[in-house]
């Protein structure tokens, strides 16, 4: 299956870690060196991830770049890495956003610079590791490992209420994940009971037989853990706090990558492991997603704080991702994955812009701004483009994703589609209203008159964001072609498994296996 023997995924995971360890031994006075080193390292990491795109064989369904080493054979824990079209794109997003984060922290972070970059590199290791792991234990280790650096990023370099936000973030996420851990055990022993082998290998567990009544419980535990991370209504409350208090780069990485871990978790684990329960949960998840879309949008409208506004808009956008995913058809699923990437790029972009404004004015209140387009024309252009992408204007990346999601939702259930569409309108309302209040009109405050426009570094950052917004908007095929086969295979697999479980409820297992295989031939 693997197209190369070179352990590229391990390299991708451990290069940042190695960098972090190296930085430990650098004297803290050499700030410029530390920043430069991290930037170069994150660029190398990005460069390393690009060959993944080109060498990835889009014609096969299975995992690629597979690495498998024994770790604890008696318990069936393996060091098992591999990616498919879905994780490939998310890894690219991660390495790309990390570069931007390093760049945007250049001036914003003034205290404990060394620790900051160490934490960031550590976080990158955990994120890439989570996306590559195909062994449940390995996955869980990386999954939990993401918590500590993010906790530190919010708590050390965050805003005034950072302590509260950091602890809330940590406890929410941990509460979800420990229950998932128990579900992992239950799944593991269930698989052993059915087949006689102990394994945490996801690909093997996919094919196990789990009684449907057990599936409900296990799915609930996994789904809770991932739903907290996404975050879905009603467990989203940590997100606005975390986003508001986190430093800019923290918000970018939180919105851009960490939230995607939740949706990715659904795709990689919760749905294929428990297809019958996932299908049974369609109404619940879809309705919660719709509530998230509409609630997030309405609450966004009323936010006085820019970062809080974007945070709630994330709740709304991630609602689309979940809605599309649980439509269980090609359009919805592809749109959902595309929307994950879009949200990373455009919401990441929005946080970057807010961060730039904050560096100049040290406030994020919408009321403190107004008429910024006059002193900062360049920022206005970028802000406009990113805003348009966020409201899904045709020609930008957001349009492709939302369009497909709604298409999928309409195909699956007319009502969900209609309700989902109202979110698009609401989305336009809060984004444009915010943009209008910040950028247009008279300059009301004296301080805003003298604001300096973007510097070269900032233009570079935003240019790269806009580049992807346009590229993903006008040439989506470039990304879809990598995930088409994976998504198709995924949907086919989930459908077959679901049919198998539906049948097994009434027939003994052996008969079912035969009946399910026949139509496939």
């Amino acid at each position: 299956m693997g197209s190369s023997c070179f352990p590229i995924l391990s390299l991708l995971i451990y290069v940042p870690l190695l960098g972090a360890v190296t930085l430990l031994f650098v004297r803290r006075e050499h700030e410029a060196y530390i920043k430069g080193f991290t930037l170069v390292l994150s660029l190398i990491e990005f460069a390393l991830s690009i060959p993944l795109y080109f060498y990835f064989n889009e014609k096969t369904v299975g995992m690629q770049f597979v690495e498998r080493r024994a770790w604890f054979p008696e318990w069936g824990i393996t060091y098992f890495l591999g990616i498919d079209g879905i994780s490939l794109l998310l890894i690219l997003l991660t390495t790309f956003l990390t570069v931007l984060c390093v760049l945007c922290s250049w001036r914003a972070i003034e205290k404990r610079v060394k620790e900051y970059y160490i934490t960031f590199l550590f976080l990158e290791t955990a994120m890439v590791g989570t996306l590559c792991s195909l062994d449940l234990v390995l996955f869980y280790i990386f999954w939990e490992l993401m918590l500590i650096p993010m906790y530190l990023l919010i708590g050390v370099w965050g805003g005034p209420k950072r302590v509260y936000a950091a602890i809330k973030f940590f406890l929410f996420t941990m509460a979800g994940s420990v229950l998932m851990l128990l579900a992992i055990f239950a799944l593991y022993f269930q698989f052993y009971k059915a087949t006689g082998t102990y394994t945490f290998d996801v690909l093997q567990l996919y094919n196990g037989h789990i009684p449907v009544s057990t599936q409900y419980w296990l799915f609930a535990a996994f789904a809770l853990s991932f739903a907290i991370k996404v975050p879905m209504f009603p467990v989203h409350t940590w997100l606005p706090d975390a986003h508001t208090e986190a430093p800019t780069a923290g918000s970018v990485i939180l919105a851009g990558v960490l939230l995607k871990m939740g949706t990715y978790g659904f795709l990689r684990f919760a749905i294929p492991l428990f297809p019958a329960a996932a299908h049974a949960a369609i109404p619940i998840i879809s309705i919660l997603a719709l509530v998230g879309i509409i609630y997030g949008a309405i609450v966004s409208m009323m936010q006085p704080d820019l970062k809080r506004l974007i945070a709630f808009s994330s709740v709304s956008h991630l609602g689309y991702v979940m809605l599309g995913m649980f439509a269980f058809n090609m359009q919805g699923m592809e749109g959902s994955i595309y929307q994950m990437l879009n949200h990373g790029v455009s919401t990441g972009g929005l946080f970057l812009i807010v961060g730039m404004l904050y560096e100049r004015r040290h406030t994020r209140m919408i009321a403190d701004f107004g008429g910024l387009a006059t002193p900062m024309p360049i920022l206005a252009i970028f802000f406009m483009i990113v805003t348009l992408s966020s409201v899904a204007l045709p020609g930008t990346n957001g349009f492709v994703g939302e369009f497909l999601i709604l298409l999928g939702a309409f195909r699956a259930n007319m009502l969900y589609g209609i309700l989902g569409t109202t979110g698009v309108v609401l989305g336009a309302v809060y984004m444009f209203w915010m943009f209008q209040r910040v950028m247009f009109g008279e300059v009301k405050k004296e301080e805003n008159r003298k604001l300096v426009d973007l510097g070269k570094r900032e233009v570079l950052i935003l240019c790269s964001v806009v580049f992807f917004i346009v590229l993903m908007g006008v040439y989506p095929k470039m990304f879809f072609k990598k995930m088409d086969t994976s998504v198709e295979g995924f949907l086919k697999f989930v459908k077959e498994r679901n049919a198998y479980y539906m049948a097994s409820e009434v027939m003994p297992v052996k008969v079912v296996l035969e009946t399910v295989k026949k139509p496939a031939e």
Partner: protein, 484 residues
């Protein structure tokens, strides 16, 4: 011939002999010592003795034999625990080399008592008979009663010693009474024999027998600091010298669990349903009470004391399952727990000074900015206690809760993991002070003695090793419990 057999039996207990001999040697050396002040020589003897004993214990691996008419037994279970105690002794005596000098613990008996305590622990886990268990327990406890009150001029220390002594004596009485009742109804003091008699229905199971079993639970429950027998723990842990606190939290707990396991997994194994129903509640209470009260502690030693109660609860979760193979998770957890606790207490020692212990959590404020190494190592120990991968504490919890799931104790597992979320809060609180807050006052110069640094580094290495490659230690633990 019998005499020769008797003599040759002694080669099996070389580790115990080495420890005893070194303890006596220390006493003699002390008697001839002129100058006052901490005794380096005794410390070195203690350290050397424990390393030698550790070497000989290693040689006993995979050996199995009853000794002295079945009163004593050599098996992997005992050997695993003995190694654990000796590792603890090595670490504690290294810390003490500096700590005793700082706190001006002038009498070398300190080291003799440390070793005698370990001797008691070793006897406890390798005895097959109630009498020997009791002797081991008493040897251990007497040494520790004295060690707790080592700071004669410090009220808290004296209070700790007195409290521990009174309550300990009380609990010992319970234990002894339980043993007596068991003997009265079964007619044997041999644990293995008891198991055999029970399975062959050789005697009537009377209420007296169950009474005995319950009293044994009380007695052991006291030593492992489980709720509701935990009242002494916070005061004693706070008042005792910090090195002794670390020694108690790891060694005494492990020894008590060792003896507890052996008695209940061999002698009373047929009654698993009965005692696991009691222990289910004790485990839940222990976790909840320990964690909830720890939330509001401001003294780091008290916080660690309550956390140690909570950890006894996690270990009890594995105990409740009543699965012989899975009981190895207890051994693994105790091993990991020893490293993270000794590490954390060493950091506490490191930050204190004579007469100024700096045990309030506020004194940790801003530690990360000024002493990144200390803050980082404390963070590692606390995160390991909280069960965050890839540290040993995570693997310990992983094993314990997987055991609970495997044996279908779902609710117990759910309560357990939710408790570990509660626990994360107070561990993070210390982390928060270290990393998020600005320092409130100067801590003064910190004494980076190699003694502390070595122990901290060894503990970190052990935690990373058991967290990332747990296989070796877990397999050892599994071999150890194969005797059940």
């Amino acid at each position: 011939m019998d005499f020769m057999q008797f003599v040759s039996a002694f080669r099996w207990i070389i580790p115990e002999i080495v420890v005893t001999a070194c303890a006596l040697l220390v006493l003699i050396v002390e008697a001839f010592r002129r100058e006052r002040g901490a005794s380096l020589a005794s410390g070195i003897i203690c350290l050397a003795g424990s390393v030698v004993a550790l070497y000989y214990t290693r040689c006993l691996w995979n050996q199995q034999t009853p000794l002295f008419n079945g009163l004593y037994v050599i098996d992997n279970f005992g050997t695993f625990f003995k190694s654990l105690f000796l590792i603890i002794l090595v670490l504690i005596s290294i810390v003490s080399l500096r700590y005793a000098a700082r706190e001006e613990i002038g009498f070398g008996e300190y080291y003799a008592l440390l070793m005698l305590g370990v001797l008691g622990m070793m006897v406890m886990v390798s005895s097959n008979s109630f009498i020997t268990i009791f002797i081991g327990l008493e040897v251990m406890s007497l040494a520790i009663y004295i060690l707790c009150g080592l700071f004669r001029d410090n009220l808290k220390s004296v209070e700790a010693a007195l409290k521990y002594f009174l309550l300990g004596a009380f609990a010992t009485a319970f234990l002894l009474y339980g043993m007596a009742m068991t003997y009265a109804s079964s007619g044997t003091i041999d644990v293995k024999e008891l198991g055999r008699l029970v399975s062959e229905h050789c005697f009537d199971i009377t209420p007296l027998f169950f009474c005995g079993m319950s009293l044994l639970i009380v007695g052991f429950g006291f030593k492992i600091a489980s709720v509701p027998f935990h009242m002494w723990t916070p005061d004693v842990y706070e008042g005792a010298p910090t090195s002794i606190t670390a020694y108690m939290a790891t060694g005494v707990k492990a020894a008590a669990f060792g003896a507890f396991l052996r008695v209940f997994y061999t002698g009373f194994f047929l009654f698993t349903e009965d005692w696991s129903a009691i222990l289910w509640f004790i485990a839940v209470l222990t976790m909840i009470v320990g964690n909830i009260i720890a939330l509001v502690q401001n003294n780091i030693k008290r916080l660690l004391a309550y956390s140690s109660i909570a950890h006894a609860g996690y270990i009890l979760v594995a105990f409740v399952t009543g699965d012989k193979v899975l009981s190895s998770s207890i051994l693994f957890y105790l091993m990991v727990y020893a490293f993270m606790n000794i590490g954390a207490f060493t950091v506490v020692i490191l930050l204190g000074r004579k007469g100024e212990p700096n045990e309030e959590i506020e004194s940790y404020a801003g530690l990360a900015a000024r002493h990144p190494f200390i803050a980082l190592s404390m963070a590692i120990f606390l995160l390991s206690l909280a069960g965050i991968p890839p540290l040993g504490g995570f693997m310990g919890k992983f094993y314990i809760f997987s055991a609970a799931i495997k044996t279908h104790y779902y609710w117990l597992a759910v309560i357990g993991v939710l408790n570990s979320v509660v626990a994360a809060y107070y561990y993070l609180r210390v982390l928060m002070y270290m990393y998020f807050k600005e320092p409130e006052r100067e801590l003064g110069t910190i004494d980076f003695s190699p003694a502390y640094v070595i122990v901290i580094l060894v503990s970190i290495a052990a935690l990373l090793y058991t967290g990332i490659w747990p296989r070796t230690v877990i397999l050892l633990a599994q071999h150890s419990v194969s005797i059940f």
